[in-house]
Symmetry: C3
Subunit: 388 residues, 3 copies
């Protein structure tokens, strides 16, 4: 038995590990070349943020238990994958005014490669009839620290896993628990996320989830393309209509660029499995997101090719719904219902491609899913899909 | 002289003790079997919360200087007294959005056995004419850290005390200081709180205080009863009217149960001293709260027998007023006025009963206070008592 | 080369120094008698606040990197200069609800000798059309921690400098960076601030800055006077009109005193250099603020001679504008525009005077700037200067 585990945080048991370094010498089995480190960041906006960094020898990535198990950045062969946010993060949740009256405080902490939006809501701010904030932008889960964190290594298979448990709760209101496991294997250019969301209330609950997965340079450059098996694509608003003809390709950076957002329904195999690709202009690099349309039926493409100083970035965002205000999405029935004590799982894979052959292979897989089906391209925002 | 003191925190003097363990070997005198520990919690929502745990050999309890000197939990003969909140606390104040627009952020930190509501207000959220939050639910004091903390042991008498000083201040607005001392004696099943509230402003001030004292299993079970010398009991709203016939007994847990709240005036001795009891269905265990009606003239009973996953709990809540919005209570004159520099003291005792004889004794004492007086049972919310 | 540097914080490099003591033995060169210390405060509202204390042998002062490089207090010859706020700070930003709906949360952290107001706005709270907070009182910069902090000593010249970099950013919104350096020389009764504000966005930006420099006893006492080369002085509102005849002198403390605020335009030399003085009643002590009117064209005098328990204090506040709501100031054009990538510098000197001769010298310098020009004294609030 070559699986070894380390508990980093377990608040119920009073366990908290300040620093940890795991290397092959610590684990039985033949796997080699990997390293796992845990530290707590100090200073600035990051003071107190726990970071677990996994390096499988090829792909490295940093997990943020303090920020709802988000992925801060990844590195492939030593090169950083992610994007340059003007926000100097990772930002500790105590310095992010998520509940400020305008509901946009979430933006103060936004610099991750992968940040979860949810769990009670995942979209634009929503207000009650008196104008008070009811649901903040992108929800609360990214600014909730995990109370349980564990890493494990299987020295035989080379599988490395980081698991964290995060709760989004309010007395009298929802009680939702996220158990997130990110897994990779030694030497692979791939990581896998399995999230389990549990309603631990005695009453039924609803939740929403959206994975806000963000890339800038080097994967995003002028001429980069988004490739997906598209059933439907619809511009979110008039601003998105302006860019409809080039909805799936990317322009050079333009200072003051105003974001363009497209809502998609993807095609999938009969098992619901599907995938999307972002590739650079030369087709020499890319990243695929593999997902299950039964779990994540809605896909949002966020284009923000503004000046690099302001965050030249695109977001590939599979979700349970579109990131409209919670009330609107509820009216459309785009929420996940969970019976008391029920759980639901969501799976997601990120694959990084480092040469034209790998990129082409990913494109072929998408072409096979597209088959003869012609994509339906909306020429204006659709009622029911797009909140006015 | 067998009294020994330890300063745990004194920000003005730059004193802060990370960890402390006090045992009988550290103090002169014959008292034995006790232990005091101080630690700072790490990880999750509790990161940075100071906890002082006192074990008198029979009763143990945990004080939270970081959360306004609240009592987190108690243990009698090793068994936990308190309740199971869905909130995984104790929660650090920096992660509790007390001032969020809807005013309900306090609920994100609610998991204590005893939490103080106050000092500027202690009731439901209150808004100004433009709809902006003026007073948040239950006030700010529970999310203010103490700047001075001290523990002391009298090795002769066996008295153990924890004192903390917490300020609720805002420049241009109120300057209120709480000096709270919780005391117990070796071997007793009892703890005593003396709170002194000071207006350290040069101008007159008003304050409110309510002790939100919460019990779930094992003291609360189906058939548990609340026993008190009642002058008057009034249902807070229509929801409470529904349960009027069983206002002082408890149902089994019911998922989705909506809270029921009753406002009481108690009877007391001529000196103002009075007491209430919560006992389990079998009458084998209970807890008494001893108080002074001159200090705490209003008593609120909160029944929340929802699913245990959501917090099966009752709150026994002696206060200076009823927890209505601040404006309403002010109109009724239910605030405490303090001249510049003036202080006022509030005393409270919690006694835990572990067998039928003790429970019966507590009931007898209450029966004596009730005497021949018949309780006035309101059949609907009263104007002046209940905000509409 | 006798300049030695210590990096205290550099989040990008993972550098964070918990404690530091620098004394002459650590640096080449003949300077002597100084000390620099860095520590992180623990407990109460201050938990986690970094403080850098510089003692040049005559003047000492404490810099707060965690609070936007504010100056907490100063000490001259061992005597404290500053004021006694009822707020027990320095307060960690995570406990200051800057973005609360009413916009006054900033007051919870207000206890510094010098606190910067800015950078997006620096005045009274401002609300959008729906009543939601758009700009909080005095802006966000004082509650943003520096991500880079450095101290340096020139052992030859005796110059000591503390530099910090603080960003006020929000994704999709402004990206402003403050690089602040406070400098002093061994033995001098003077400190110098150079702030550089950079717009690191790819789009144009606007900013505001106001230095809220606050004094109580011993510099402020009954009969103290504010001396300045005045072109114009205008009462902010009716309350200030009441005190117009004594606008530049100070009353004894009066409990419940309501603040009086005056807006000034100063006279200056042709190079824009000008200065103001606060002196005590006997003229035996004082403090001068030297500034450049080209950088800081607007000057606000805040009189708050309330009970000392509530903060007997005056604020001398040079700014880029008057601290009215942001929208009003924008309409008057009182904002600083910065092209993409542009920077602007602001210089400020504080000189402490310890005897009548020094005070007189400062007054003479101001008299020279005043020359024959008669001050224009407004007898009511001016449209365009004062928001109604």
């Amino acid at each position: 038995m070559a699986v070894k585990k380390w508990t980093l945080t377990d608040t119920a048991a009073g366990v908290y590990v300040d620093e940890l370094v795991v290397s092959p010498g610590d684990v039985e089995g033949g796997s080699d070349g990997y390293e796992i480190t845990k530290k707590t960041l100090r200073g600035g906006l990051s003071d107190g943020v726990d970071m677990v960094r996994v390096n499988n020898g090829n792909l490295a990535f940093a997990v943020l238990p303090t920020r709802g198990m988000g992925l801060w950045k990844a590195w492939l062969g030593g090169e950083e994958i992610g994007w340059q946010s003007p926000v100097r993060g990772p930002v500790h949740p105590s310095l992010v005014p998520v509940m400020e009256p305008g509901g946009l405080g979430w933006l103060d902490g936004f610099d991750e490669l992968l940040v979860r939006c949810g769990l009670e809501n995942n979209g634009a701010p929503d207000f009650d009839e008196s104008g008070k904030l009811a649901y903040p932008l992108h929800g609360r889960i990214a600014n909730r620290p995990a109370h349980q964190v564990e890493v494990s290594v299987d020295g035989d298979s080379g599988e490395i896993a980081v698991t964290g448990v995060v709760e989004e709760t309010r007395f009298h209101f929802s009680k939702l628990r996220l158990t997130s496991t990110v897994t990779t294997k030694v030497g692979e250019a791939r990581l896998q996320i399995r999230d389990v969301v549990e309603n631990f209330s005695g009453s039924p609950a609803e939740f929403q989830m959206l994975y806000h997965i963000n890339f800038g340079q080097p994967l995003l450059d002028p001429g980069s393309r988004f490739v997906a098996p598209v059933k439907t694509v619809v511009p979110r608003n008039e601003r998105a209509v302006e860019g409809m003809e080039t909805w799936n390709s990317y322009a050079p950076e333009v200072a003051g660029y105003s974001e363009q957002v497209y809502f998609l329904e993807l095609l999938s195999g009969e098992d619901g499995k599907t995938r999307t690709l972002l590739k650079n202009a030369e087709g020499t690099r890319g990243v695929s997101i593999l997902l299950d349309k039964n779990q994540l039926p809605c896909y949002t493409l966020w284009k923000n090719t503004t000046a690099s100083a302001d965050g030249y970035v695109t977001g590939l965002e599979p979700g349970t719904n579109f990131p409209n205000p919670r009330t609107f999405e509820g009216q459309q029935g785009r929420v996940v219902r969970l019976a008391p004590g029920a759980t639901t799982a969501i799976d997601l894979v990120l694959e990084f491609h480092k040469d034209p052959a790998e990129v082409e292979q990913a494109e072929d897989a998408i072409a096979a899913l597209q088959g003869d089906t012609e994509a339906e391209i909306g020429d204006e925002p659709w009622e029911g899909w797009c909140a006015s």
